[in-house]
């Protein structure tokens, strides 16, 4: 059990995925009429129900438009990794970086340690459910990192494993030139960011 997977949540998910609850209609209705807990249960159930209808990705999209970080995190499970469009997925990951949802809660981004073993194999045109990170996503995250640094702020650590796989995106963002910014706060933030970029944790 966890903060999200409480007993009542597990019971809701069981009701939604059990033999008496088939088809998209009950999930759709419960989400549309549900409290946050009920909505979370629907999003969790989508990852578990084997026959979940692809049209229900509309619920993930609706949750991703919210600003409730619990809904955003729950909307990025395996069902979303399979059915969200490329640009939607990138925007969702960027939103997580922005509002502090940990990337480990996002299906479709591999565990950083596994992902960094090899070269980045997937171009923009390919679609792999277990690894949807691509150069375009890295470009968005690098720009986000530079914006944070320019404001003298810290960058969430989650972005670095993705950016290390796409060094071209970092070079293109202008982040590497930030340590020579005239504003000392901005330059210091840049040095902290690039330290994290160059020195992966645990290495």
């Amino acid at each position: 059990l966890s903060d999200l997977w409480r007993t009542d949540m597990a019971a809701r998910v069981l009701l939604l995925t059990g033999p008496r609850s088939r088809g998209p209609e009950p999930m759709l209705r419960l989400y549309r009429h549900g409290t946050t807990d009920e909505r979370l249960a629907v999003l969790l159930a989508l990852d578990i129900a084997e026959d979940a209808d692809a049209s229900l990705v509309a619920l993930n999209q609706e949750a991703l438009r919210s600003n409730d970080t619990r809904l955003i995190a729950a909307a990025l499970g395996t069902f979303a990794a399979r059915w969200l469009g490329a640009e939607e997925f990138r925007q969702a990951v960027l939103k997580c970086a922005f509002c502090g949802v940990p990337f480990r809660q996002i299906a479709g981004l591999p565990d950083p340690k596994d992902a960094e073993q090899g070269e980045s194999e997937y171009g923009e045109s390919e679609h792999c459910e277990s690894d949807r990170a691509d150069a375009a996503l890295a470009g968005m995250l690098a720009t986000f990192a530079r914006e944070r640094v320019a404001a003298g702020r810290d960058v969430p650590d989650d972005v670095w494993p993705v950016l290390r796989r796409f060094p071209g995106a970092v070079a293109e963002s202008g982040l590497l030139a930030e340590p020579s910014a005239p504003d000392p706060l901005r330059a210091a933030a840049a040095r902290r960011a690039l330290d994290s970029y160059h020195r992966p944790e645990g290495r």
């Binding site: 009429h33 409290t35 946050t36 807990d37 919210s66 600003n67 409730d68």
Partner: protein, 192 residues
Amino acid sequence: MMRIFDPHIHMTSRTTDDYEAMAAAGIRAVVEPAFWLGQPRTSVGSFVDYFDALLGWEPFRAAGFGVRHHCAIALNPKEANDPRCREVLDLLDRYWAKDGVVAVGEIGYDSMTPQEDEAFALQLAKAREHGLPALVHTPHREKPAGTRRSLDVVRESGTAPGLVLIDHLNELTVAPVLDAGCWAGFSVYPDT
């Protein structure tokens, strides 16, 4: 520090600065009763979005400040007079069954019209059916008459007076409310 429960506050119209100040003052839990928004609603859809916010966004926002947010749901007396809004009465059962909805309210009177009579009595009966307490708003105008009439409606409904909070009382209306055995509420305004 004393821990405070605020039983009547409309956080929808409050800033996050207010949440911060409330938490600093010791407020740990609130009840936000559903009411009017200043601009009259014209459709059931805008009620649905409002109620969903009372069950979704607002508790999330409150939790960020360590405040537990609960709500009371009802068709308020002001908007009970608009036939375009009254249809929301058909949807309220699904809200009264939800976790986080701790009462039926605000019900009561605004201008004491027959439409308000009907919505008030019906929702009091629903409160009984759902085992929920009721939060009754008393009118700004003709408050003594409105309060007496509210107590009559409560009596006729058969609802236990101990499950009814009559709010916005003043010097003239507190005695009859206490005599009737209802809870006396003092969510008061600076000038009315």
